[in-house]
């Protein structure tokens, strides 16, 4: 019986009057890699924001290692060991590459990730450490964003659309690096538009449609037809 690390129960998330998630519920076990797929507006990013504390909810709607965390602020959630690689990278433009990484690590959690480890994973960042983060290419910026999240030595890492706006060749590089990251026993949730990519790196897939889960299944057994139905809602 694997250890459950994350549990979402009856999660309802709103933006003003607009409800983005409806009684969402699912569980993630330690070391599992779950792909979250779904069309634009299905609620994937809202789910990420709810888990990471950027959106606050009722405390019991998100549980981490059996502890209710739905009501915590993002900095408190981060301190518990949940890191988010945000959609669109969102580096700090006033900070150099290295400072972006250092600030990711300032929570001070122990673990395998350090500046050296990130530079070993992405050698190009070591060469550009003194540069302003905005002077890097999109792919390199994404590497900084991933490195920044790793620096906190999280137990759970959330990737929100890491291939968005990047050239296919860069996406290939980034996905080639993922097993080296997740292989450390880390639990990961990967939000991804590219279904082939999502299935290739995950053990389980979870499809959202209009704020509800329309499909869950093992990544290697779920069929394309099932995904198409769950994705678009066509019978």
């Amino acid at each position: 019986m694997p250890d459950q690390i994350l549990k979402i129960t009856d999660l309802n998330a709103h933006y003003g009057d607009f409800q983005a998630l409806f009684e969402l519920g699912f569980e993630v076990n330690q070391g599992e890699v779950v792909a979250i797929i779904g069309a634009n507006g299905a609620g994937k990013t809202t789910l990420m924001r709810s888990i990471s504390g950027l959106m606050q909810n009722a405390s019991s709607q998100v549980e981490y290692r059996g502890q209710p965390i739905g009501h915590l602020r993002a900095d408190q959630v981060a301190a518990l060991g949940i890191a988010l690689v945000p959609e669109g990278r969102q580096l700090f433009p006033s900070l150099s590459v290295e400072e972006n990484l250092i600030i990711g690590g300032q929570i001070g959690r122990r673990g395998p990730w350090s500046l050296d480890a990130v530079y070993k994973l992405f050698p190009i960042l070591g060469e550009r450490r003194e540069q302003q983060s905005t002077s890097l290419s999109g792919g390199q910026q994404q590497m900084v964003a991933i490195g920044r999240a790793l620096m906190s030595n999280p137990d759970v890492i959330l990737f929100d659309e890491i291939s968005l706006g990047l050239a296919p060749i860069i996406i290939k590089d980034i996905y080639a690096a993922l097993p080296g990251i997740i292989g450390e026993g880390m639990t990961a949730l990967i939000v991804e538009q590219d279904i082939t990519k999502a299935l290739s790196v995950s053990s389980r897939v979870c499809c959202l449609q209009e704020g509800r889960i329309s499909l869950t299944g093992k990544s290697d057994t779920v069929s394309r037809a099932e995904i198409a139905r769950a994705y678009f809602g066509i019978e």
Binding site: L54, A74, D75, P86, L95, I102, I103, I107
Partner: protein, 289 residues
Amino acid sequence: MIMEWLNALIQGTLLGGLYALFAAGLSLIFGVMRLVNIAHGDLIVLAAYLGLSVTTIMGLHPLLALAVVMPTMAIIGYLLQRIILNQTLGDDLLPPLLVTFGLSVILQNALLETYSADPQKMNAGALETASVSAGGLTLGVLPLLTFAIAVAVIAGLQWTFYRTALGRAFRAVSDNQEIAQLMGLNRRHVFGMAMALALAVTAVAGILLGIRTSFDPSIGGGRLIFGFEAVIIGGLGNLWGTLAGGVILGVAQTVGAKIDPGWQLLSGHIAFLIILAVRPNGLFPRMSG
């Protein structure tokens, strides 16, 4: 004749150091949290009065009183930010403007109740009249010291901003509050620290003001204007630019006063308006690393 103008130029430069101290805290706060603190001038006056109380009660020299006034102002700043100002921050710039305006009125009246409207002055003894002569010019030790302190404070702030973890947190929160929060930074605490640092600088400004001239509870608004003008001339978010802005303002005032004593303040404002018209972003916009 030339010496007289040169003298005005140098006196103005030294005066600019004081204006840069008025402005530095204002610049820091705007840079980190986009808050325009209308009460900044009154906080400078508050620091001067705190200095006055410390010097009279404890019998300390005003400069030594800084050891008490600086931490006091820093604590006031942290609490002010955490308890009141953080609640006003959001997408709208208006609430913090209104609240700090209200704070300005409250501070002025509280000072009036406590210390009366009589002009006060701190006694710094021989320091006030000491001077050095160089090449036919006589320079006051106090203005020289003020300018040196201003340079040291700006250099210290610059170092804090670009070389320390606190400064990194300031820049990160200024860039993107939400993502900074994801990095484990509590922005409310970071804002509190920024206001604490700003008011510690304000303490220095207030004490030096109180040694240089007499003050009363109503002069805060004028100091705020000088601070604003120095920040805008120098370019928002650039600390060395703020020092340059203070110097330009100081020189404009003393040169104006040299032409006609009545022109002192007016010529400072005119210099500000000209620079604003020609370079709306100030002389040295953006951060310099």
